[in-house]
Symmetry: C2
Subunit: 156 residues, 2 copies
């Protein structure tokens, strides 16, 4: 039962304002639903799933739909106002057990290997062990791969 820290309301207000200005800058409408969904994610430190966000937003807006939550979470991610933990889409597997990281293209989903010197992983490892026994380390970079940025078609 993790104790849930609440983001202080002052900072939250500030982030909400930024969210709204970002929406306007991109020509997206500031709706109650978007505001509540953003607040739900920004205020929590529980790494909620889409379903979790849906339930929390329901307490404020009794009839939001789950698909609006999905759509909004996706657009918030595109606006870089939240992070998605893990990969998008289907699971991928890797039989290479050497310590290495992944570069994942946000557009095409391709996964590229990134090798690094093990010693650079030591510091966060120590803190990670405070949460339990670490069995696997996975460092992921998300971005746009060269292939996708040269084929300059489609959204951002």
């Amino acid at each position: 039962m993790p104790t849930i820290p609440i983001v202080e309301s002052e900072e939250l207000t500030q982030r909400l304002a930024f969210f709204e200005s970002e929406c306007r800058r991109r020509g997206l409408r500031v709706t109650e639903q978007r505001r509540e969904i953003f607040k739900a994610v920004a205020a929590s430190h529980t790494h909620p799933s889409a379903e979790d966000v849906f339930e929390q937003v329901r307490e404020k807006l009794a009839n939001v739909s789950l698909d609006t939550v999905y759509r909004t979470l996706t657009s918030l991610e595109e606006m870089e106002l939240l992070l998605r933990v893990g990969t998008t889409g289907k699971e991928r597997f890797d039989g290479d057990l050497r310590p290495h990281a992944h570069f994942i293209c946000a557009k095409c989903g391709e996964v590229y290997d990134v090798f690094y010197d093990k010693k650079y992983m030591m510091l966060p490892l120590r803190e990670a062990f405070s949460h339990g026994e670490v069995r696997q380390i996975s460092l992921q970079y998300k971005g746009i791969c060269h292939q996708c940025s040269s084929a300059h078609e489609g959204k951002s």
Copy 2:
């Protein structure tokens, strides 16, 4: 179009032997299906999805089923013979944009934050940029959280 490096057959043979001994050690039967599925993942550097593995294994064993592939990939992961890129199960979101890592419990799926000093991320960042424009860094530790290891019920 990524060029696909093939794991040298000598190393592959060695890994296959290890896979078989691991199976026996755990009382799992060494079947053609398991062997081919393991080989498919171990020999490729393409981070295949379950479907990809399925298609490749089909070339050898014309009637493996997709569910066998799923079951085997899961057991190979439990044997720590392969890695799963990304999280298991549903997607989780994080509104905290400060640079930090995640400790993900392999048993209950809970996600814990792990903060670190940004400077320790510099080295792999340089290599990551060789694949494209990095927009997000995500460091994940997978393991068993204290909560799950104290509640010592169930598998492994």
